[in-house]
């Protein structure tokens, strides 16, 4: 589960962001408590708290005292915007590099993307 | 084990709990001894006349058993009780309370036994005496005499109990702890010898030596000596417990 090079709290934060982006977590929706997170993933609750704190600082989540943690209303839009901004650096650049390693030409990629254009609509 | 409502009383509750659990645990053994003390002379009387008090044998063996049990408790319970979050001062107090109660209990049993035996032996016209031989004043001739003879036993048991705990604590404290036997055994036998009318039980050469030392001591001097020795023994035991590190577990 958690075996990337990045610290666990970062992975949790990234995962929550991904869930917001793909719609499994709705804006305004309630997030699992840190203890529930800790219990589910069998991690120290402080790690979950750290992730949540980051997300609150970034404005992705907000806390309602005594009630719980919620997804900010504008979280999805904001994250999507950030993702779009970094899409080319974070996704396409490594993709191009990997393709090169595998010996796939750019024109092959472009052809493939063209076939996908229909699917995206 | 007692429910520890407050830290203030748990050491007392532990002392008394040790007594009740010991009574329960050894009840079978005690019963067996009582039965034997009656059965054995009954059986032996088929072949020869009975001129020794069987209960005397039992009561004296009891001295050593009391010592061994007490020493065993200290040796095994010290690490367990420290692991359960008790201070060594509390543990020493609990052991002290147990020693007093246990000696009183077994001592009361001894007294009751001698009285009961006097009734039995009287009925069967047997000679209730601690030793064979014709020493006149060692024959128990009446209930009053039996009581007087047996009255010393609770104190004797407390003496042996203390000795046992001291040895147990010393052995736990250090590998060289066995050396404590060197002073403890002769002193215990000497005081016991002084307390009892008959000789103390132990290695013959040692008993002869200590008997010589306490020759002519009256009962009250002996009691005073016993009290002093018990007090010193208790202090030494407590000192050992208070300074005992808990041993590492063998890998």
């Amino acid at each position: 589960m958690f075996d990337d090079g990045t610290p666990i709290y970062r992975q949790i934060a990234d995962q929550i962001k991904a869930e917001i982006l793909n719609g499994s977590l709705e804006p305004g929706g309630k997030v699992m408590s840190t203890n529930q997170y800790a219990s589910f993933f069998q991690i120290n609750p402080a790690t979950a708290q750290k992730a949540f704190r980051e997300l609150v600082d970034e404005g992705v989540l907000y806390k309602q005292r005594g009630v719980g943690m919620f997804v900010a209303e504008d979280a999805r839009d904001r994250l999507a915007g950030e993702f779009r901004a970094r899409f080319f650096d974070d996704v396409l650049k490594p993709l191009v590099h990997e393709a090169r390693q595998a010996g796939i030409s750019l024109s092959d990629i472009i052809d493939y993307l063209k076939t996908q254009e229909g699917a995206l609509k | 084990m007692p429910k520890a409502h407050t830290l203030a009383t748990r050491r007392h509750k532990l002392g008394t709990a040790l007594l009740t659990e010991s009574v329960k645990y050894f009840a079978g053994w005690i019963l067996a001894v009582i039965v034997l003390a009656v059965a054995v002379p009954l059986i032996v009387s088929q072949w020869r006349s009975i001129d020794i008090s069987a209960w005397y044998v039992a009561a004296n063996i009891g001295k050593y058993l009391v010592a061994i049990i007490a020493g065993g408790y200290v040796y095994t319970l010290l690490p367990i009780l420290v692991a359960q979050g008790m201070t060594r001062r509390e543990i020493a107090t609990s052991m002290g309370i147990f020693a007093l109660l246990w000696s009183a209990f077994i001592g009361a049993l001894a007294i009751a036994g001698f009285l009961g035996e006097h009734a039995l032996y009287g009925a069967l016209d047997w000679r209730q005496a601690p030793q064979q031989g014709e020493e006149f004043d060692l024959v128990i001739g009446s209930f009053a005499h039996a009581l007087e003879f047996a009255a010393i036993y609770p104190l004797a048991y407390l003496l042996y109990c203390t000795a046992g705990m001291l040895i147990g604590a010393a052995i736990y404290r250090s590998d060289g702890g066995w050396l404590v036997l060197l002073p403890v055994v002769p002193i215990t036998l000497a005081v016991d010898d002084a307390l009892s009318r008959a000789d103390a039980w132990g290695p013959a050469w040692l008993v002869r030596f200590v008997s010589g030392v306490v020759e002519g001591w009256g009962v009250w001097s002996a009691v005073a000596a016993a009290v002093v020795v018990i007090a010193i023994g208790a202090w030494a035991t407590r000192h050992l417990i208070l300074n005992s590190p808990i041993r590492a577990k063998q890998a």
Partner: protein, 292 residues
């Protein structure tokens, strides 16, 4: 009311050997701390001092800011669970559990429930239990003690993996339910890494390193890929280990990786992997490395 832990200039000598030398260490209350060290490093000695099992030769041992030795208010709320437990072998499991009632905070119902859940039979004698069940009994006594400072010293030995999992799970649940201070001393570092908040590494009687677990985990990384690319990336960094298989090389370095280096790695086709806490521990306590 969790207990903090503080050792100041603590030394413990057994005869001529120094098991702990001049140790100064403070552990914050309410956290789960990992205590790691090789055999004989001094972990068990350290824990023994915290539980007032022994007195130090020099220095102060404070728990909850108070000296722990013979302090009934403190020791009654400190539990040290040693491997195999501190039991009377001739006692039954039930009787052993009931001994815990000496503690003011002991929860008998919880203990009995755990005994049932982990299948430790109440009527069996302790010396009839398998090693794993015995360790579980020790763990149960530790959990049910509901102490403010609970220390588990290699209590998992003898437990199989599913049993250990169940123990960690229960420990975490207890901890979240009732925040207190926990110290886990273990060899199975990677298993417990996710449960820890802080890590202390003890080596040859001294504290080698004490930090947040994240600091440890980001202390290094492993580069795996074409040999020259890996060498280029690792140039100038402290190398902890190297492995080569044909044209592929794997190098473990003790450095935080910044974004720039990560990008270079991706560009060069070099995979970046984590350094597990266990691997880091092995490297940090390697005698060749520490020069003794």
């Amino acid at each position: 009311m969790s207990f903090s832990v503080s050792l100041r200039d603590v030394t413990l000598k057994y005869g001529d050997t120094e098991a702990l030398s001049d140790v100064t260490l403070t552990l914050e209350a309410g956290k789960i701390h990992g205590l790691l060290g090789r055999n004989g490093a001094g972990k068990t000695t350290l824990l023994s001092l915290l539980a007032a099992f022994r007195k130090p030769t020099a220095g102060e041992v404070l728990v909850d800011g108070r000296p722990v030795w013979e302090n009934v208010d403190v020791v009654s709320r400190v539990a040290l669970i040693r491997e195999g437990g501190d039991f009377d072998d001739t006692d039954t499991v039930e009787s052993t559990i009931e001994t815990g009632e000496l503690r003011p905070s002991f929860d008998l119902d919880y203990a009995l429930k755990l005994a049932e859940r982990f299948e430790v039979p109440l009527d069996k004698k302790v010396n009839q239990l398998s090693r794993g069940k015995r360790s579980m009994l020790a763990a149960i006594c530790g959990l049910a003690a509901r102490a403010e400072l609970t220390m588990f010293d290699e209590v998992h030995l003898g437990m199989d993996a599913p049993t250990r999992d169940a123990f960690y799970k229960e420990l975490l649940a207890e901890y979240m339910d009732r925040p207190h201070t926990v110290i886990l001393s273990t060899h199975l570092i990677d298993e417990v890494a996710n449960y820890l908040e802080e890590v202390v590494i003890v080596d040859k009687g001294r504290v080698l390193r004490h930090d947040d677990v994240e600091a440890f985990q980001s202390m290094g990384a492993t580069f795996t890929g074409p040999a020259d690319a890996v060498d280029a990336l690792a140039a100038g960094l402290e190398v902890l280990a190297e492995q080569r298989l044909g044209g592929t090389k794997s190098v473990t370095v003790a450095s935080r990786l910044d974004a720039a280096r990560r990008e270079r790695a991706a560009a060069a086709g070099v995979e970046i992997g984590p350094v597990g806490l266990q691997d880091l521990f092995i490297h940090l306590t390697n005698p060749d490395r520490t020069g003794a």
